[in-house]
C-alpha cells in the first residue's frame, strides 16, 4: 500500500456500504468499455478494432442515435432560451419557419416561469402542473389536481423521492418486478431497504402473475420484511409488455388487500405496439366506482417522463409523478424532501408541458407535429420487428414479439463450453456473451443479469433504436461465430 493510501480519509472499505451494494449495470463496465472504444475510434486510433462504429444499444437514448427531436418542442425551447427572439416575430415567421402557435406557447410558458434560468417552485411551476393535470384528465376521463402533480428531474428522480420517503427501516420492503429497470434495486440498496422480487412470466408475454406476486409477498413477510409498496413498470422495461386490464386490477386488488403503495412507472405509455395502455389511475378510479369503499385507501404514485415515447428528450431531464390518495402529512414530507434539491430543471418542466399539451388538430404546427410523431412511431415499430426477425435467425435465441417500449429482451442459450470460459474470466455467462459481442462488433447491450432473471435463464436487453439493418447483421454474424466457437 502506498503511503497516501494509508493516510487518506476514504478507501473502498470505509465508504458507505449501501452505495457499494448498489448495482446499476446499464451504465456499468460494459458501457464504460464501449465509451473507451468510441473515444478510440474518434481519435482515429481504432485500427486494431474489428469494427469501425460503436452502437450504443444499451441505453434508451434515441437522440444519441438518429432520432430527431420534435420540431415544435425545440422551436418553443429556442424562444424560451432566448426571449429576445420574440422581439422579431416577423423574422421568426417569415424567415425561420416558426408558426404562430410556437410563439404563443413560448410567450405563455415565459409568463408561467418568468425565466428558464430562475428556480421555480420546488414542485414545479403551477401553470405547467395544470397542463399535466388536464392531460391526465383527458387521458383517463377522471380529474387530476395540480396540487397532486410533482414535476421532477426525470422520472428517475421521482422514483428516488418516493423510495426515500417510503423506506423507513432496513426491513422495509418494496416489491419489484424481475426483470426490472435497475433503478429500483439500486435505490433500495442505497437506502438499505429490501427488494422483494416478483418474477414476470416470460411464457405469458412477460405478464404479471398474481400467484407469483402473492407468493413473493408471503415469502418476504415470513422473512420479517415490512412490505410497504409494489413497483410496477407498465409498459415494461426491459420487457415492453403492456399489462391487460385484468392484470392491473389484480395488482390493485392485492395492494388494497395488503395496504401497499402502488408505484406505477408508466414512462413508456406511448410506446405501445400491441395492446393498449391503461393507466393505473384510470383502473383505480374505475374500481373505486365499481366497488365503493373497497379501494378508497389506496395510495398510487404514477410516473411519466419526456425521455421516452416519441419525445425522446432524455437529456432535458423532465418528468412528473401524480400522487393519488396520499396522506397530506406524507405529501408534505415529500415536498420537503424535493425542496432540498431546489427544483427540477425548468426547461425540462417546459418540455413536460409540451409533451402533455402538444399541438392539436387545427393548430398551425399540428401537421408537422403529427407527421414527425407518426414517423418516429412507425420507425420504432419497424426497427423492433426487424430486430425480432434477426433474432429468429439466431440459434438458441428466443424472443417475444415486440410489444412496446424501446427494447427487446431475448432469451439466449449459452453452450457449456462458453459457460466454462465465462467462469474462467470471472463473469456470468450472459455478461461474458455481451462482452464478446462488444469486443467483436462494437455493439453494446446489457446482460440480463443487470435486470434480474429467473434462475437458469439468460437474456440480454437491446434497444431497437439504432438506424438501419447493418448493425443487426453484425449481431447475427457474431452469434453464429460464437455458437461455432463454443459448440
Amino acid at each position: 500500500m502506498s503511503s497516501t493510501e494509508v493516510l487518506r480519509a476514504l478507501n473502498y472499505s470505509n465508504i458507505n456500504p449501501h452505495v457499494k451494494a448498489a448495482k446499476y449495470a446499464v451504465r456499468g463496465e460494459l458501457a464504460v468499455r464501449s465509451e473507451e472504444y468510441r473515444a478510440k475510434l474518434a481519435k482515429g486510433e481504432g485500427k486494431d478494432l474489428p469494427f469501425d462504429t460503436v452502437i450504443a444499444a444499451n441505453i434508451g437514448n434515441p437522440q444519441q442515435l438518429d432520432q430527431k427531436p420534435i420540431t415544435f418542442f425545440r422551436q418553443v425551447a429556442s424562444l424560451l432560451e432566448n426571449p429576445q427572439l420574440l422581439e422579431h416575430e416577423d423574422v421568426l415567421i417569415n424567415s425561420l419557419g416558426y408558426k404562430s402557435d410556437v410563439i404563443e406557447r413560448a410567450r405563455w410558458l415565459l409568463k408561467e416561469v418568468k425565466s428558464v434560468g430562475a428556480y421555480s417552485q420546488s414542485q414545479g411551476a403551477p401553470g405547467l402542473r395544470e397542463s399535466v393535470a388536464k392531460y391526465i384528465e383527458r387521458r383517463d376521463g377522471y380529474p387530476a389536481a395540480p396540487k397532486d402533480i410533482y414535476l421532477s428531474n426525470g422520472a428517475s428522480s421521482g422514483v428516488n423521492t418516493l423510495l426515500h420517503v417510503i423506506c423507513a427501516r432496513p426491513n422495509t420492503g418494496v416489491m419489484v418486478p424481475i426483470p426490472q429497470y435497475p433503478l429500483y434495486t439500486a435505490t433500495l440498496a442505497v437506502l438499505d431497504a429490501r427488494c422483494v422480487p416478483y418474477f414476470l412470466d416470460e411464457s405469458q408475454a412477460w405478464g404479471t402473475s398474481l400467484k407469483e406476486i402473492r407468493s413473493a409477498y408471503e415469502k418476504a413477510v415470513a422473512e420479517g420484511t415490512d412490505v410497504k409498496a409494489i413497483a410496477i413498470i407498465n409498459p415494461g422495461n426491459p420487457t415492453g409488455a403492456s399489462l391487460p386490464a385484468e392484470d392491473i386490477k389484480a395488482v390493485l386488488e392485492f395492494a388494497a388487500e395488503k395496504h401497499l403503495v402502488v408505484i406505477a412507472d408508466e414512462v413508456y405509455q406511448t410506446n405501445v405496439f400491441i395492446g393498449e395502455f391503461i393507466s393505473f389511475k384510470k383502473a383505480l378510479r374505475d374500481l373505486q366506482k365499481e366497488q365503493p369503499g373497497k379501494f378508497d385507501h389506496i395510495e398510487l404514485a404514477s410516473l411519466h417522463s419526456v425521455s421516452k415515447g416519441m419525445v425522446g428528450e432524455c437529456g432535458h431531464r423532465g418528468g412528473y409523478f401524480e400522487l393519488v390518495g396520499f396522506d397530506p402529512e406524507v405529501a408534505a414530507e415529500i415536498y420537503k424532501f424535493i425542496s432540498i434539491q431546489l427544483c427540477p430543471p425548468v426547461l425540462g418542466q417546459c418540455i413536460v408541458e409540451m409533451m402533455v399539451n402538444p399541438p392539436k388538430e387545427g393548430d398551425p404546427s399540428y401537421p408537422l407535429y403529427k407527421e414527425e410523431y407518426d414517423g418516429i412511431f412507425n420507425g420504432l415499430k419497424k426497427r423492433a420487428y426487424a430486430l425480432y426477425e434477426a433474432f429468429k435467425q439466431m440459434e438458441g435465441v428466443k424472443c417475444n414479439e415486440p410489444q412496446g417500449s424501446m427494447y427487446l429482451f431475448p432469451t439466449i442459450t449459452i453452450p457449456p463450453k462458453a459457460v466454462e470460459q465465462a467462469k474462467k474470466e470471472g463473469r456470468q455467462p450472459d455478461e461474458f456473451y455481451c462482452f464478446r459481442m462488444l469486443d467483436k462488433t462494437g455493439i453494446c447491450v446489457v446482460a440480463g443479469s443487470g435486470f434480474g432473471q429467473k434462475e437458469g435463464t439468460l437474456h440480454f436487453r437491446t434497444t431497437f433504436l439504432a438506424p438501419g439493418t447493418e448493425w443487426t447483421g453484425r449481431i447475427v454474424q457474431f452469434h453464429k461465430d460464437f455458437m461455432e466457437e463454443f459448440k
Copy 2:
C-alpha cells in the same frame, strides 16, 4: 381518525424518520406562505393584504427578479435547442444580432453532445469537462484533469453525491460551518449521519476560527463520532465572507492532521466585493509545493455552479465538482452512484461550459458580455450596500459590511415582549419576526435559525437581488413599527 387513515400504507409516523428529521427552511413554511400571497395577488384577490407585491428575498434566484441572463449564453442555448436555426446563419447574423462566435460555440457544443435531448455520459460530456479543467488551470495556475471533473445537476446534487459516499455509518460525522446553507444539515439528516457544527466568528467578519474547528472536532470525537470530512463554504452562505489565505491554509492543515475530506463549496467564487477569492485547490497545491509530503494524502472536492455569480442560471441546474486526491476505487463508487440517475441536464452542462469558457477579449461577443457581466456585478454591489445602509437605520440591527455572495445576514435584537409573543405562537423569535415581516410587507426572508446561529443570537438572511429601494424602505418601516409595538 378517518377510515382511510387507518387503512393507508403510509402515515406521518411510519415514513422514513430520516426524511422527517431533515429541515430545509429556505423553502419552508414562510416561503410557502409567500407563494400563497403571490398567487392571491396574481388572481386579483389581494385587497386585504397591506402590500401589492411579494418580494422573494429568501432565495438566491436572480432571474426571478430582474436580473437578465447573459446574452451570449442564451443565444448559444437557443441554437442548441433548435439546431435547425444553424441552417440560417445569414438570418441569425443579419436580422437577429447573433455574432459568429455564438454560432461557432453552438456548433462545437453540438459536436460534443450530439443533442441536448440525448443523455450524455454520467460524468458529463468529455469535451465540456475539458473546458472546466482548462478553466481551473487558468484560475489556479495548476493543471486539472477532465477525468476528475464531474458535471452535476447543480452543485446541490454534487453535495448530495459526496455525502452519500462519505457517510458510511450513523456515527459518521461531517463538520459543517454554522451558519450554513442548510443543504448540508438536511442531507446529513436524510443520511442518518452526524452534523459536527463549527461556529463562524461574526466579530471577525464571519471568518473561520481554527480554535473553534478544533474544539468542535474534539467534542465530536469524544461523543463517538467518526469525523470524516469538513465542509466549508467559501465565499460564505449566508455570510458572504471570503476566507483569507491563512484561514484556508489552517483548514487544510487541520484536514491533513485529522485525515478529513475537504468539501469546498465555492459557488460564490465570482461574487466577491471585499478581498479576493482563493480556491482551496490552489491553496492545497501551494502547500504541497511548499511542504512536500505533508499534504499529499488530502482529499479535496471543490464545487461550482452556474446558479450564482453573474451567470445566475439557477433554473438550468448546472454545476460541477473536481475530485483531488481521491482513491480511484472511491471515485469509481462515486461514478456508479451518479450513473443511477443517468446524467445531469445536458443544457445545464453546456451553460457550465460557457460559464468557464466565456467570450474572450477579441471575440465578437466580448464587448456585450463584458458590459453585461460588469453591469450585473456593479448592480449587485450597489444593492448590497444600499441594503447595508438601510440596516444601519434599524434599531438593534447590526450587519457586517457586504463582502460578497448574494446575501446579508444581519443580527437582530428582538424585544422581550416580542419573544413572549413568539413563544405564544409556537415560534422561534427570529421566525416570528420574519413571519411578521412577510405578513406586513410581502417580503420573504429566511430566519437565522434556518442556517444555524450561536445560542442567544438572532439573525435573518436576505438577498440583495431585488431591484430598487422601495422594498428596503418597507423593511425599515416594518422594523420601526415592530420595535414600537413590542417596546
